[in-house]
């Protein structure tokens, strides 16, 4: 309990030898403050409160651990850089996230400036256990503010704590706040501006700390401090227990689980429709307007038929993708995701995985890139690789535009089960099930062959249920919207322009050729023999090639191809597709997109996360073979039905 001389505050740890004085601080580099805390302590909510829209997601240098950085605007125009570190239980790293948090706090991660101060955020409703993290954090000797979050919860459930006494014991300022309600946040801002003004004065006082390697000793130390701060733990969270008796009920639990999944898919398909119709209208009207404003010629063709037809047809899907991310955000922020992982654990175990694989796999429904990164929570390396391998088989949001287009074009809107589900929604659901089935079978295969390992452990905290805040949900959506628009503005824009050039060259007698005789057409025709057995012609072939960059690009490509063919006065893309695809071919195309790994970003992130080309190459070939075989079978079978 007393053996702490190597962990006590040391002068040498303090960065920035020049002590900034208030008015000189304006020209200095802004203060860097790290926010650290255990998972579920409300770190991100606080971060959002302090930074609002002045934040961005980035990777730590050298690794793919995501973090957010933002600027907190304080009074008298001071600015402070906040870094939201990954949630940790201790500074004894067990996974890569924890390693990063540890390295940054200690200032040993190359390329990342050591923080000048720390905001340690703890859940005050479980102070006994959370206070343990204060020991290693205070031992760093950096100016530290201890934030006790969930003050409203503590009060409602009848707990209390003497903040002044705790502050005295810790030798650091302590504030009681509610990050979700915003109460007490001004005190954190005061700390930040005070520290910015006088860094040396904010150093924590030397206090007795436990031996950091000894968990029981650290826990005893935390208990002692709790007693001295007359901490009274709150009553158990009644609502969480009530909700769990439904959500984890042997019968109702799985039913709720299934209902949630169905509701998500039904709504992204039917609720998003009116908004998407509006977007389609806006895109086509603006295209027509541009067609009228721009002079007839190459520029007009490039802008209207190349750029706008390509980018615009993808933009239409923004509302649907945001809706999906909204649902995932609600599930994560409310605490239901942990329950879903628990329900899924038994099933996942059958495929050789564990419940924690469920969380990345569910986010893979939004996008495989963050999902591959989210696998870092899985401690077992082989489990982690298996999860990475199957994540792109989950139906990501980039497939939605493709599915939506083909389903809307080929599947009649017939109500099923008394109107609860419609045939298009059911088809969509079936595609999701197909991807999931392929994923679990692949996992089973991998885990019983190349990635065989001992049955792994599954340790997961069930956080209390909380109402997601509007702010954190909207920040998530803004963030994802930006990512999608950036892709539309870069990858899709580039592909659209290149495709437009290829579709309009070589010039024959000084005129742009028919698409059939263009370079793009030639490429399509070259691969046509290979895809003919799947029911695809050369136009779809061009789409398959361009969609190697990103799946949704095929929609833009088809937009460009048909845009060119009918010179702007195109009938809808859906109608145009009927000319080139039979219903059986449409089924085959859906299956192809369900299985193929058409995404540069995912390939890149898998390479980074697995540390080489071996796994991404394997994954790409495997999924391509699966896609080809799957759509071949689907085409043959569907032909029996449609003829």
């Amino acid at each position: 309990m007393s053996n702490c001389h190597d962990s006590g505050p040391r002068k040498g740890l303090l960065p920035n030898p020049t002590i900034p004085v208030p008015h000189a601080a304006v020209n200095e580099r802004p203060l860097i403050v790290a926010i650290i805390g255990p998972p579920n302590s409300g770190k991100s909510t606080l971060f959002n409160r302090l930074t609002g829209l002045r934040q961005k997601v980035a990777n730590f240098p050298g690794v793919t651990v995501e973090h957010r950085m933002g600027k907190a605007k304080l009074k008298n125009r001071q600015e402070v850089f906040l870094v939201d570190l990954p949630g940790v239980y201790s500074l004894h790293p067990r996974s890569e996230d924890e390693q990063v948090a540890n390295d940054i706090l200690k200032g040993v991660r190359p390329g990342f400036a050591k923080p000048d101060a720390v905001v340690l955020i703890l859940d005050v409703t479980n102070l006994g256990r959370h206070l343990v993290l204060a020991a290693p954090v205070l031992s760093l000797g950096l100016p530290t503010l201890v934030v006790l979050n969930m003050a409203d919860d503590l009060a409602v459930r009848g707990g209390k704590v003497d903040v002044a006494a705790l502050s005295h014991e810790l030798g650091a300022p302590v504030v009681l706040v509610s990050a979700s309600k915003g109460t007490g946040v001004d005190r954190i801002q005061q700390f930040l501006s005070g520290t910015a003004a006088n860094l040396a004065g904010a150093k924590p006082a030397r206090v007795e700390l436990p031996v950091l390697n000894d968990v029981p000793k650290c826990r005893q130390w935390a208990s002692k401090l709790n007693t001295r701060a007359s901490y009274r733990a709150p009553a158990p969270p009644i609502w969480t227990r009530r909700l769990d008796s439904v959500f984890l009920h042997p019968v109702f639990g799985p039913l709720v689980f299934a209902a949630v999944v169905v509701a998500v898919f039904q709504s992204i398909f039917s609720w998003a429709q009116p908004i998407m119709d509006g977007m389609t209208y806006a895109v086509s009207m603006s295209g027509q307007w541009m067609g009228m404003v721009l002079p007839n010629g190459v520029v007009r063709s490039l802008v209207v038929n190349g750029v706008w037809a390509g980018v615009g047809s993808v933009l239409v899907f923004l509302p649907q993708i945001l809706l999906l991310f909204l649902f995932i955000g609600v599930l994560e922020d409310s605490g239901y995701m942990a329950r879903a992982a628990l329900i899924a654990d038994r099933t996942m175990a059958k495929f050789g995985l564990q419940g924690k694989s469920f969380i990345p796999l569910l986010s893979a429904y939004a996008c495989a890139v963050p999902a591959v990164m989210a696998t870092r929570v899985i401690e077992n390396k082989r489990d982690r690789i298996a999860t990475i391998m199957i994540a792109p088989l989950m139906t990501c949001s980039a497939r939605l535009p493709v599915y939506t287009l083909i389903i809307a074009a080929f599947v009649p809107n017939i109500p099923l089960v008394r109107g609860v589900l419609s045939l298009p929604a059911a088809t969509m659901l079936l595609l999701y099930v197909l991807g999931f089935a392929a994923a679990v079978i692949t996992a089973r295969l991998l885990k019983s062959t190349v990635l065989k390992s001992q049955r792994s452990s599954f340790i997961l905290e069930m956080p209390p249920y909380r109402l997601p805040t509007l702010q954190s949900l909207s920040l998530r959506l803004i963030d994802r919207g930006r990512v999608f628009l950036r892709r539309a503005g870069t990858v899709i824009l580039t592909v659209s322009i290149v495709l437009w050039i290829l579709a309009n060259l070589p010039l024959s007698h000084g005129k742009m050729p028919e698409i059939e005789n263009s370079y793009a057409g030639m490429v399509g025709k070259t691969i046509e023999p290979a895809i003919k057995p799947l029911g695809f012609n050369w136009k779809i072939g061009i789409g398959l090639i361009t969609s190697l960059a990103a799946r949704e690009v095929i929609v833009g490509t088809l937009g460009t191809i048909y845009g060119i063919e009918s010179d702007g006065n195109s009938e809808g893309l859906q109608k145009a597709l009927h000319a080139d695809l039979t219903p059986a071919g449409a089924v085959a195309l859906l299956v192809f997109f369900a299985f193929a790994m058409q995404c540069f970003s995912t390939i890149a992130v898998v390479r980074r996360e697995t540390g080489g080309w071996k796994w991404p190459i394997f994954q790409f070939s495997y999924m391509l073979a699966l896609a080809y075989g799957g759509s071949l079978v689907a085409y043959r079978v569907a032909n029996l039905f449609f003829q």
Partner: protein, 99 residues
């Protein structure tokens, strides 16, 4: 009644109960963790410390794992992990189960 109590005592005396053998709602005191170091450490950080009280709260739908109340929070563990957490020998009649 007396006979009943004795047989219960005898049963708990015979072999050290593991966390996996504890019924839902029944409290036990942890004695030791028989697990690889890194997993044991993480469990200890989550409150599974020798001497701490643990109550299995509920079984996961479909079984295979349970949620345990320990040190102010609820943690899910698989049954095979719980079977490696050994409980202190005590008489169930003495311990009052917390609601």
């Amino acid at each position: 009644m007396i006979f009943n109590k004795r047989s219960q005592m005898a049963a708990t005396h015979k072999r050290p109960a593991t966390l996996a053998e504890l019924r839902n709602g029944e409290e036990g005191i942890l004695d030791r963790l028989d697990l690889p170091d890194d997993i044991a450490r993480r469990l200890m950080e989550l409150g599974f410390l020798p001497g701490n009280a643990i109550i299995p709260a509920r079984t996961a739908p479909g079984g295979g794992a349970r949620v345990f109340r320990v040190d102010g929070s609820e943690i899910a563990l698989r049954d095979d992990t719980a079977a490696r957490l050994f409980m202190r020998l005590h008489f169930p009649s003495i311990k009052a189960a917390t609601p």
